[in-house]
């Protein structure tokens, strides 16, 4: 258990990398910064692999590694401790592994940027906080990580902060996350008030003895879910994620697709017992998840910005994960987190490679025909697209169909909407692929001249991720294909609580499962073919901005006017209220009072100073009058 006891090394390396790169950002050459930044994550990754293998070989599946007493008073005890169990060890591998690939990719992608050192220090800091979020053995340490990744997300979305709209996007992400964070924070308070501890072990042990449907648990889970909604961009707090695409593309891949946004899913899986004992919340989670999934997919089908398509796709896939959580398929949700991390990081990095080749052009209407010029990017992106569309045997197929099968058990309606979302997913992903890589080039001469495949630092991560995206599903082959679902077996210990074992797997009729899979796969293939006939055969190019559209496409193109609705029901009243408080209360009442006080004193003094005439006799007279007055007063009052 050597490495498990050295788990503090995992977050330490990125922290050291952050300090070196942060302090030396203007001094160190770019090569050194990129090397240190990537090396620190690679070291963490190696330790994580060691931890994973040790845990896999060990009989004990949960390790508690206290580092130091952080808060220690009579009433509150919060140790700074880490927890290693199957869930955190898998998340460690994802975060450090994909994090490392994206660091390497960034060396090529950010090569010409002036903020190279700053970028790498932020990225290392992000990994550090993400690792705290994953490793923390109590809600408070988790909350540190939770807030920290939010901060890094803000810093990296606004990385090019001289562009005001990017800075606004960063602010929007931060504010929306704060709303969720408040829910999480209140949930922690209630957890502490109820269980007298914030340690996962203590809380879950006591919770296992509570009745299902307990009101306190309902409140706790609802508020935790609010936190998850904010972090994982679900309705109604999802609008920050598409705007977060203002950041550099590798950041979108790492933070806003693969790791941070799955924090909400991780937190709910971690608290699985609380949620299982609160069925009302679980239903809400499923409903919110499925609505988010289909709404975001419907928006993605008409977006023209390559990163916006992927952003809405991320929101939609996160919706799938929440659907999985909501129907009790925690393993399925984590499975989808893993496969999604592979293929969505891959797709974003491919998009980054395309944008890089296109001299920072993100509009797909100006791309096309890149297949020949960017062969590696094309092949890897094809792999990612097949994976996300759920075409067997690529990874997305297994995880998505596991979730859909559980959704079907819960309610066929959820399954139907899920399949429609899958069709939309397949359609918009192939639409993106065709618009980008097929037919002729639609950009300017200059851009065409400049087209080139990205350097090796960028293509090697693409290839590795593509392999993972293709074969990642093999860790969870369902029984229907003769597999034994390794992931479910590995994760089982985190669902075993004293006196209560959570089992999501109710044995399902294999023929039903096959039919369900056939329907969703068939639908996805038809959607892909339809996209082919429309965008390759039909040479359809999305309409320019401002052209007339029918109602549905207008709704989709304008993102269902969610931002506008928020602006109308929250932004405007808040602005009106603020300007009322500013103009009437602040300017009028408060400033009026303060200034009035000053003015009254100054005007009064102008009159009173005339008494100071310089005439000594008058002074003496006033003095004596005063003394007499005092005497009279004293005489009549005492």
């Amino acid at each position: 258990m050597l490495l498990i006891n050295l788990v503090w090394l995992v977050p330490l390396f990125p922290l050291v990398g952050f300090l070196i790169n942060g302090l030396g950002r203007n001094v160190l050459p770019k090569g050194v910064i990129g090397f240190i930044g990537s090396l620190s994550i690679l070291l963490s990754f190696i330790v994580s692999i060691g931890i994973f293998t040790e845990l896999n070989a060990s009989d004990i599946k949960s390790f508690y590694i206290p580092l130091f007493d952080w808060i220690h008073t009579a009433a509150v005890k919060v140790p700074f401790a880490f927890q290693i169990d199957p869930l955190s060890s898998i998340m460690l591998l994802i975060v450090t592994g994909i994090g490392f690939l994206i660091h390497v990719y960034s060396i090529g992608y950010m090569k010409l940027d002036n903020g190279f050192g700053k970028y790498f220090s932020y990225l290392n800091l992000f990994i550090f906080f993400m690792l705290l979020l994953i490793l923390g053995s109590n809600y408070v340490v988790m909350f540190i990580g939770w807030e920290g990744v939010g901060l890094c997300s803000y810093l990296l979305i606004g990385f090019w902060f001289t562009n005001p709209s990017f800075a606004t996007a960063a602010k929007k992400a931060f504010v929306m996350n704060r709303i969720g964070d408040l829910g999480f924070l209140i949930a922690i308070f209630i957890i502490f008030a109820t269980f007298g501890s914030v340690e996962f072990g203590d809380v879950f042990m006591q919770a296992a003895k509570m009745e299902s449907g307990n009101t306190t648990l309902l409140w706790i889970t609802m508020l935790l879910f609010v936190g998850a909604i904010g972090k994982s961009a679900q309705i109604p707090l999802f609008t920050w994620l598409p705007d977060a695409m203002a950041g550099p593309t590798p950041v979108s891949a790492l933070i806003h697709a693969a790791t941070m946004v799955t924090g909400g899913v991780y937190m709910i899986i971690r608290s699985n017992i609380l949620f299982t004992l609160s069925p009302v919340t679980l239903h809400l989670v499923a409903v919110i998840g499925i609505i988010t999934a289909i709404l975001a997919a419907a928006i993605a089908v008409s977006q023209t910005d390559i990163k916006k398509v992927l952003a809405y796709s991320t929101v939609s896939q996160l919706g799938y994960m929440f659907l999985g959580l909501g129907v009790g398929a925690y393993t399925g949700a984590l499975f989808h987190v893993i496969t999604h991390a592979f293929f969505k990081a891959l797709l974003f990095l491919c998009a980054g490679s395309v944008i890089h080749a296109m001299s920072n052009e993100q509009d797909m209407r100006k791309m096309g025909g890149l297949k020949k010029k960017l062969p590696i990017t094309f092949v890897t992106m094809m792999a990612g697209t097949l994976a996300i569309s759920g075409i067997p045997p690529f990874s997305g197929f297994f995880s998505k169909d596991e979730i859909l099968a559980h959704a079907y058990e819960q309610s066929p309606l959820l399954w139907v909407i899920g399949v429609i979302t899958a069709l939309l997913t397949s359609f918009y992903m192939f639409r993106m692929l065709y618009l980008t890589f097929y037919k002729g080039f639609r950009g300017t001469q200059e851009q065409e001249h400049h087209l080139h495949e990205s350097p090796a630092t960028m293509t090697i991560p693409l290839v590795i991720l593509a392999i993972l995206a293709v074969f990642g599903g093999l860790i969870g082959i369902p029984e229907v294909f003769g597999g034994h679902h390794w992931l479910a077996g590995f994760l089982a210990p985190i669902f075993e609580h004293p006196g209560l074992v959570i089992v999501a797997e109710t044995p399902m009729n294999h023929s039903t499962e096959l039919i369900l899979m056939a329907v969703s796969v068939g639908g996805a293939i038809i959607a892909a073919l339809y996209a082919y006939s429309r965008y390759v055969k039909g040479s359809h190019i999305p309409a320019v901005d401002g052209s007339s559209r029918d109602l549905l496409s207008k709704l989709s193109y304008n993102k269902f006017y969610v931002d506008e609705v928020y602006e109308f029901i929250i932004g405007r009243p808040l602005n009106a209220l603020s300007s009322f408080f500013y103009k009437i209360i602040d300017k009028g009442a408060i400033d009026g009072f303060v200034n009035g006080l000053g003015k009254a004193t100054s005007e009064g003094s102008k009159v009173l100073r005339l008494l100071q005439s310089g005439n000594v006799g008058f002074y003496i007279f006033m003095m004596i009058t005063g003394i007499v007055a005092l005497l009279v007063y004293g005489f009549y009052n005492i």
């Binding site: 100073r609 005339l610 100071q612 005439s613 310089g614 005439n615 000594v616 006799g617 003496i620 007279f621 004596i624």
Partner: protein, 109 residues
Amino acid sequence: METVSQSIQGIPLNHYILLSAIIFTIGVIGVLIRRNAIIIFMSVELMLNAVNLLLTAFSVYWGDASGQVFVFFIMALAAAEVAIGLAILTMIYRNTNSTDINILNRLKW
């Protein structure tokens, strides 16, 4: 033989009070209506001594010496005050060639 306190007590207390009141009033009026700084000083001294007289008389009638101790304090204080006051007056006279307080009206708004 008659002691000092007995001889003081030979005169009724009311007489002392009246006398002191008259001297004090003279002092106050002097301060108020005279313009010569030296006269004002003297008036102030009159007031102080009226109080001294009263303190002594009360002290004797009360049979407690502390009133007379206070008189010594007041005397010491008055001496100090006169020392400073006269020094100021000398400077005023050097600068204005007069002891009229109404000339000193420049310190105002």
